[in-house]
């Protein structure tokens, strides 16, 4: 199979799934081919609706993705799925097991599932996840479902990548209050208490409601002790994240979830918040990429040895951080003016 990015893109757009799979690998690998591909597909993006699913390990994210996929397929929409799991920081290896719970779509040409390892990235997605989402968008998938790493608290990257973020909780995942961190609630557009068939679902629901509602501070009993619950101010005016209950394994509550996503989508469009978010997101991505490329230039232009030398000086307190940065910027100045940057990031 060819590795030529442009040919791959043409074929993928014409429906060649193998070409699409290979194209996603190129984007994941990074480098010159990824830059070329990214540029080629960018004009074709912006049509898919991206839904992020995050929450603690085992809360049922993959099973929910499976159930949502079925619902969208029944409505005749095509679905691209990106499922992210962590890479081992020690070996770089990864065990990607989300597909186990996504079997209903097997053999359906309207669905494409891709597993990704974080490869050292920490915010709940992999470095290339947004490129992968754009590629699925560009080849025509109408809904893109993104499952983050299940760490329960740091998956804030997803708020940067999705139109609607669903935060999933479930009873019986150990310490409920510890599991529900304020930070994760702040990114939630919709909250789901999955495994509503399990004991403790009502308590989980109660905790979430208390955390989200304003007014009297809530007190819950935790390990027999009374504890005040930390509150989360709804960050978005005009939209209060609904709290829904689902049983992903049986499909109970899924129509209501689909409904809630549609309401959020409508809210985003009518309020102008959708446009504002898209703007913020692309601006932040531009900043992040520029930072990354600039640093690559610094390393390329200044060289490892010189960088190590600066680090030594910093450790000996011979110079300070800001002065070190000034030196680096001075050294790459001529390079910036000549615009002769190497392309690879």
């Amino acid at each position: 199979m060819t590795r030529d990015p442009i040919t791959l893109f043409e074929r993928a757009r014409a429906g060649d799934r193998r070409a699409l799979a290979r194209l996603l690998s190129l984007l994941e690998e990074g480098g010159e081919a990824a830059v070329q591909l990214s540029a080629r597909l960018f004009p074709h993006t912006g049509n898919a609706y991206v839904i992020g699913i995050t929450g603690p390990p085992g809360s049922g994210k993959s099973t929910l993705v499976n159930a949502l996929t079925r619902a969208y397929r029944e409505r005749g929409e095509t679905v691209g799925i990106v499922a992210v799991d962590p890479s081992s920081p020690f070996t770089g290896g990864a065990l990607l097991g989300d597909r186990i719970r996504m079997q209903d779509a097997a053999g359906d040409p309207g669905v494409f599932i891709r597993s990704m390892a974080t490869r050292g990235s920490l915010g709940g997605l992999a470095r290339a996840t947004r490129e992968i989402i754009r590629a699925l968008d560009a080849v025509g998938f109408q809904r893109i479902l993104v499952e983050t790493v299940g760490a329960g608290q740091v998956e804030v990257d997803i708020a940067q990548a999705a139109d609607t973020v669903i935060v999933v909780q479930a009873p019986g995942l150990g310490d409920d209050i510890q599991a529900i961190k304020a930070g994760i609630l702040e990114i939630a557009d919709i909250l789901v208490v999955n495994k509503a068939d399990r004991e403790g679902a009502a308590a989980t629901l109660h905790i979430l409601r208390s955390m989200l509602s304003l007014g009297q501070p809530a007190v819950v009993r935790h390990h027999g002790q009374a504890m005040a619950i930390q509150r989360v101010e709804p960050s978005r005016e005009g939209w209060t994240p609904p709290i829904l209950q689902t049983v992903a394994t049986s499909g109970k509550g899924i129509p209501e979830l689909v409904e809630a996503i549609e309401r959020h989508r409508a809210y985003l469009e009518e309020s102008g918040e959708g446009e504002a978010r898209r703007r913020r997101r692309i601006a932040e991505e531009l900043a992040a990429l520029t930072r990354e490329r600039l640093w690559a230039r610094v390393v390329h232009q200044v060289g490892r040895a010189r960088l190590d030398g600066l680090v030594d000086q910093l450790l000996r307190r011979e110079i300070d951080l800001h002065t070190a940065v000034e030196r680096l910027l001075e050294e790459i100045q001529p390079c910036i003016e000549e615009r002769d940057f190497p392309r690879e990031a």
Partner: protein, 145 residues
């Protein structure tokens, strides 16, 4: 970032013995591979389709049910149907010695029986791609900030 070797571990058929598949999946992860595990009860079509979507370099099949002579060649067939001719296909589980030549003729490159050390399997895959086991971990280094 660079290239990472991706491996699909799958269990074809109705065979419920998944210990071996899980042992191998974890061992390959620990060796530095990216392993996609699809779980039990996979048809040859499902396995080939997952291999295609995930763009894997290796498909590892675990089978202890005795149905290897029908199922394993069908997986290879489904892979080829999708143009995945260059994927390395290996297998393990309860497979009698006398069946191995026929499986190899059908496109299964190697068969690893009970008691095979995971080092042997890692070594075999690495040799196929012309790399050393140490290289796997090096490729996992996170890219520059």
């Amino acid at each position: 970032m660079g290239r990472k070797i991706r491996v699909l571990i799958a269990k074809p058929g109705l065979d419920g013995h998944d210990r071996g598949a899980k042992v191998i999946a974890r061992a390959l992860r620990d060796a530095g591979f990216e392993v996609i595990y699809t779980g039990l009860r996979q048809t040859p079509e499902m396995i080939a389709e997952a291999a295609l979507q995930e763009d894997v370099d290796v498909v590892g099949l675990s089978i202890l049910s005795g149905a290897h002579m029908t199922l394993l060649p069908r997986v290879v067939e489904e892979l080829r149907k999708r143009g995945l001719d260059d994927v390395l296909v290996i297998a393990g589980g309860i497979i009698p010695e006398e069946d191995i030549p026929a499986l190899k003729a059908a496109g299964i490159r190697e068969v690893f029986g009970p008691g095979t050390s995971t080092e042997t399997i890692v070594q075999f895959i690495c040799e196929h791609f012309g790399i050393r086991p140490e290289d796997l971990k090096a490729a996992g280094e996170p890219a520059l900030p």
